[in-house]
Symmetry: C2
Subunit: 179 residues, 2 copies
DNA sequence: TTAGTTGTTCAGTATGTTTTAAACAATTTG
DNA sequence: CAAATTGTTTAAAACATACTGAACAACTAA
């Protein structure tokens, strides 16, 4: 007969692995995902050393992993009175975590395309209007249209992330109550 | 004075690079992103060999890259009458591409957590009800609650992706017209 | 049938990323 | 102050992933 404490730990490990796996979808390495998973199941704030022991990684890796999770607001640093060590807790609100991630990525996508467009549009407009060859003019025109065609998409995503941040999104898609 | 054809090509390369970069956000390698980018700017369906020349990669890489893009529905295979080669065109509707990607990932996330939960819930329920140690009972109960707490999130995402697929989502977030 | 074309698969290699271990910096305690 | 603790940085190693080139399979045409 297996020890009960072991069973609890095994169950937790299964869920922690699953959480780590899903976080890979969001661009986090499995190790960093496991750090989050451990914190998700901890009922007290944990120090770097405690986390290191729990996930069996080097201090350095845990340090950088924690920074990454802090930057993406997946975890929170808390001060414990009388303890010099930093302590961390998991942000358990998955909806919030999702929105943070989503908004960040949509903004990034936007800025990558916008930068490239700003770089390129003047040249293409110039060619469209004043190119020697009518062939080139046509190509420039077509490229301008292809770039312009992305506007609808960016307006669409912008409205979504704006609404997510303002809370308006929840009027259409309310978060169900815990039952 | 620079040649006009070169200017067009340089502009295109800048946008193609930007598209490849944004696709990295969606879990595609830059090389595969460039294949999509090249197809995005082509006004005719392209064969494997033409793509290979355009992106300067090995035939094998382009072959697997195309398969990946086909599987994620970012590109479409078209048959050209009288030509034995396969030809490909880009799916240019970014909103559609986004939704395909989004739905796929949310489903994956769901199934990962669901599988783990199904594995673990019976054991935890058993411990919660019949564990020898009251300590263990409490821990099992807490873990059960933590797992249950994720339900709200999954219901929320499910409604969103269902609405995206049914088209209902566009009632709240219509795609702006091209202007 | 043979020669040529097209596309896929796969072992080996190249490339890039993550992790570690150790050195270091910053802070606290006695 | 020195010694101890905590956390960060970094060079090197371990690992993972993507890419190539060559072999292969499937097909076509002559």
């Amino acid at each position: 007969m297996e020890k009960e404490e072991t069973k609890i730990q095994e169950s937790r490990d299964i869920i922690i692995s699953a959480i780590a796996q899903t976080m890979v979808i969001y661009g986090v390495t499995p190790s960093v995902g496991r750090i989050y998973g451990v914190l998700y199941f901890s009922d007290v704030p944990m120090s770097l050393n405690e986390i290191k022991d729990a996930v069996a990684m080097s201090k350095g890796s845990v340090s950088t992993g924690l920074r990454e999770l802090l930057e993406t607001e997946m975890i929170i640093k808390v001060w414990k009175k009388g303890d010099r060590k930093d302590h961390y807790i998991a942000e358990k609100d998955f909806v919030k975590n999702f929105i943070t991630f989503f908004v960040k990525n949509i903004r990034l996508e936007r800025s990558i395309i916008l930068n490239a467009s700003n770089n390129v549009l003047p040249k293409l407009k110039e060619l469209n209007e004043h190119a020697q060859s009518p062939e080139i003019q046509k190509e420039a025109k077509r490229d301008l249209e292809l770039i312009a065609d992305t506007n609808a998409y960016f307006q669409w995503t912008k409205k979504i992330i704006d609404d997510m941040e303002s809370g308006e999104f929840f009027k259409h898609y309310p978060v169900p109550d815990k039952d």
